[in-house]
């Protein structure tokens, strides 16, 4: 989205500054690359210092150093459980992408389906999925399946909404290009609707990935003998708050990892939407 290198063409980037400013540009790019790390490190520092300064008890909020220690100490079970959660989430998320795309296209391209399905979907999605997990467990037994389904159920909706909106707001001019060729509805969706909706599809993936993790983890806390959710449950049941936070941190890491994957795909596919420029509203030199 805010990438400066573009798919299929590097010839499109606006000069971000006059040539004389190159050194600054270079350092800006470096800054951009370094910034997430700086933010994270800064956050942890503030946290560590805050916890120590106010001597917050460990069972309230453990210091990052304590969490890292716990992470290292329990690295084997953490990796084991993280792997399980990652797998569950990825599968549920994968199903959600397919389902979200298909249903999004249907809802976005027909006001009948839109009117018929949207309220029901909204209603369903207002329900906390924790409440649905027990039913899934009773139907599918304890294990991976309920977690996958939960990850799916929780994450398809953001995808669906954005795909539907993307399809429904395609500029009629672009649609007419295909219609004028006598294109079938399916072709119009494939050649105009979906490409046009891509930037928003990828935006929705950012949301969907995070909620997919939330979904599989809450399912694991309700009924599972594996996964980060289970690990956090065990940890909290023995007051091991640092381990709980280690589980949260690992989840966050996995979320970011999945985001990076999605981001790479996004940059390849939606460079056109930002014309390969710095995606900002700012002037090239402003």
């Amino acid at each position: 989205m805010t990438d400066t290198t573009v798919a299929r063409s590097a010839a499109s980037a606006r000069p971000a500054a006059a040539p004389t400013r190159k050194p600054w540009l270079a350092s800006r790019r470096n800054l951009e690359r370094a910034l997430p790390w700086l933010v994270v490190i800064g956050l942890f520092l503030v946290w560590e210092v805050g916890v120590r300064a106010f001597s917050v008890p460990q069972f309230v909020l453990p210091a990052p150093s304590v969490i890292f220690e716990s992470m290292w100490k329990w690295r084997v079970p953490i990796l084991d459980n993280a792997w399980q959660t990652l797998f569950t989430t990825a599968v549920g998320f994968g199903i959600a992408i397919v389902f979200g795309l298909v249903t999004g296209v249907l809802i976005g391209s027909s006001s009948l389906i839109y009117n018929g399905l949207y309220p029901v979907l909204i209603g369903f999605n207002s329900i906390p999925k924790v409440a649905v997990v027990p039913i899934l467990v009773i139907w599918f037994g304890i294990g991976t399946v309920p977690a996958i389904i939960t990850a799916f159920l929780i994450s398809f909706f953001p995808i669906l909404v954005n795909v539907a909106t993307g399809i429904a707001t395609v500029e009629p001019e672009l649609r007419d290009v295909l219609r004028a060729l006598g294109a079938r509805r399916r072709d119009i969706i494939l050649k105009v609707g979906l490409p046009r909706a891509m930037p928003y599809f990828f935006a929705s993936l950012k949301v969907a990935i995070t909620v997919a993790f939330v979904g599989s983890i809450i399912a694991e806390t309700v009924a599972s003998n594996k996964g980060i959710g289970h690990l956090m449950m065990v940890a909290s049941s023995r007051f091991d708050v640092p381990l709980v936070f280690a589980g949260l941190l690992v989840t966050a890491l996995m979320g970011v990892a999945m985001y990076i994957v999605a981001n790479i795909v996004e940059r390849r596919m939606t460079g056109w939407a930002t014309r390969g420029m710095d995606g900002g509203m700012s002037a090239p030199q402003g």
Partner: protein, 316 residues
């Protein structure tokens, strides 16, 4: 009037009604305490809430507090009264499962939440009943899935509190006759249960307040024991979602299985045998693999109790 915020051990149910009776009688107010009674989220939460200062006093099964103290040596959560001396911890199996004695549980699968006290103190049960608890397989489920798992036969048994599991199973269609219930206490597990908790710092700063709250909680148990229906009525008035029939039964189970131990009937509520308590602490520490460091006097302070004659049960 001193403000005290008090957290219960669980949602407003039959076993929690007594506190409302005491409040309705004006016991706290008369003693100069303006008490706020909030629902709780499990006995494990209470010591944490007290240690963080979110609440000044609370109610909870003593075992998680023992563990909390042992694992956080700096903390100073103490009990000022043990309201229910009998432990509600049980293992429940179906009567037709072929499990006749606790030893038959070996190699079987039990369902319970990770934080379930019955599951966490299962080693105490195993040691007392003389079987190898390590051969049991556990299935981690949330509380609302525990009993359905047993009903649907997906596990051989569950652990939990008799006050919660038995009414739940009845609601799911398994009456007492369909069940075999192993009370941990029946096999010699030396455990106590629901206690009035606070921090030592608060107790030393506000001895009268703590004494009043402790006295009134005991008073509430006396009242609710003498007038169970009145207790449920108070409960319904407080929590409009109450189902009186179920809660009446729950309270009755609490009275029968947890409150009226021989010692309490003979000498009054919160009559504590310190040797028993010390052994109880040791067994909890053993169950969690902790060193035996906590002394009974450190965690139970009898000095806030009213005199024994004010602690006798009113009924009979």
């Amino acid at each position: 009037q001193t403000n005290v915020s008090f957290i219960m051990d669980w949602a407003w149910q039959g076993p929690q009604a007594f506190a409302l009776m005491a409040r309705n009688e004006g016991c706290f107010a008369d003693g100069g305490v303006n008490i706020t009674l909030d629902r709780g989220f499990g006995s494990g939460r209470t010591p944490v809430e007290l240690a963080t200062g979110t609440y000044q006093m609370g109610l909870g099964d003593l075992n998680p507090t023992i563990r909390f103290r042992a694992e956080n040596p700096d903390s100073d959560v103490i009990a000022t009264a043990i309201l229910f001396a009998g432990t509600p911890m049980v293992a429940v199996v179906r009567a037709d499962s072929g499990i006749e004695t606790p030893a038959d549980l070996e190699g079987r699968t039990l369902a319970a939440p990770d934080f379930d006290a019955g599951r966490q103190l299962f080693p105490v049960f195993g040691a007392a009943a003389g079987f190898d608890h390590t051969t049991v397989n556990w299935m981690s489920v949330s509380p609302e899935l525990r009993e359905p798992m047993l009903v649907r036969g997906e596990v051989d048994g569950i652990t939990g509190f008799v006050t919660s599991s038995v009414p739940s199973l009845e609601a799911l269609g398994l009456g007492r006759d369909d069940l075999r219930i192993f009370y941990y206490a029946d096999y010699g597990a030396e455990l106590v249960s629901t206690s009035v908790l606070t921090t030592r710092a608060f107790a030393e700063a506000n001895p009268e307040v703590v004494a009043t709250v402790t006295r009134c909680m005991i008073r509430g148990v006396q009242l609710a024991d003498a007038d169970p229906d009145g207790a449920i009525a108070a409960l319904v008035a407080h929590e409009s979602l109450t189902d009186p029939v179920v809660e009446r039964e729950r309270w009755q189970i609490t009275i029968d299985d947890m409150l009226r131990t021989d010692l309490v009937v003979a000498e009054g509520i919160s009559t504590v045998d310190m040797d028993f308590l010390q052994r109880s602490i040791a067994s909890v520490e053993d169950a969690y693999g902790l060193e035996n460091t906590l002394r009974a006097e450190d965690i139970f302070d009898a000095s806030f109790l009213p005199p024994a004659e004010d602690r006798m049960l009113l009924s009979e």
